[in-house]
């Protein structure tokens, strides 16, 4: 997966970058299945590998698809990236070991959900039960966000294109 991302950084042809991104999403979905996150894997595969790629390609169809040569220096961003990476790595000291069932993360709310979801909602898929019933407000907010994004895109893209592009936008 790191090789895929490295290829994505170095490529200049944007279509190739997008296809590599789709490959990356598929690999991520496979890893997610290994990590027992089957719902997330299905969503990541459908959204990341399918829909994201299609949308970016459709957008690239409207603008040029090649990236011109960069003229900025890369030293400062590299240094910033390395420093931030090291700080985050230092933060992972406190994170639990892989697969440990005794960590605080597994203690408080999750055992309650796992023990009671079937009895209280008759739905065996705990993720769906939590998403739609125990945390229903969050899903309502998420649906509203999708709705807002759709409205936003429709508002931005449904007018006719101006013929002279160099005037200041006055609509």
């Amino acid at each position: 997966m790191i090789v895929t991302v490295g290829g994505m950084i170095l490529q200049r042809n944007l279509v190739a970058v997008v296809i590599l991104g789709s490959v990356y999403s598929f690999l991520a979905a496979t890893v997610l299945v290994v990590l027992d996150a089957v719902d997330v894997a299905m969503t990541e595969a459908a959204v990341g590998a399918g829909l994201s790629t299609v949308l970016i390609l459709a957008a690239l169809n409207l603008i040029k698809s090649h990236q011109s040569r960069s003229t900025r220096s890369v030293i400062l961003p590299l240094v910033i990236t390395l420093i931030v990476g090291c700080v985050i790595a230092w933060g992972t000291i406190g994170l639990p070991r892989f697969g440990d069932p005794e960590t605080p993360m597994q203690q408080h709310v999750s055992p309650y959900y796992l023990a009671n979801a079937l009895r209280e909602t008759k739905v065996p898929n705990v993720v769906t039960a939590v998403l739609a019933s125990y945390r229903g407000y969050d899903t309502l907010g998420e649906t509203t966000v999708i709705f807002t994004a759709g409205i936003g895109v429709l508002m931005l893209l449904s007018r006719r294109r101006r013929i002279k592009p160099l005037n200041n936008e006055s609509e």
């Binding site: 459908a46 739905v123 898929n125 309502l140 649906t143 709705f147």
Partner: protein
Amino acid sequence: MKQNPIIRIIVKLLVPFIVLFALYVQLHGDLGPGGGFQAGVIMAGVVVIYSLIFGSTAAEKLISFSIIRSLIPIGVLIYVGVGLFSLIKGNNYLDYSALHAEAAVGQHMGIFVVELAVFVTVFATMTAIFYAFVERQRQNEEDPE
């Protein structure tokens, strides 16, 4: 791509299976992985692939743009409506136990309706966004150059 007969035949054969798969994922969200989001995206993928192969005019004859545009808020309305229904019956907002005499069955029904609402909104939004991009391309080509 419109001229290649192999792709056209295969896509025509595949489309009903993909629709079936999307409905399967939606309705089996309780028993296995799945649910509204995945199913909505897969269904939107059906419209996308049909539009890619057969052109956007053919896709618009399949499902028209104005229907999709009016479907977007309906999902949100269903979701909010379920919550208000619980409120009217005297329970908390979005407390599904008010939907049926037995609390667990009420929860199950509530989850089903909510997943349906999510499916409708996700499908309509993703399809509408794709249509908007394609429409822009068509407008660019039709403008007097």
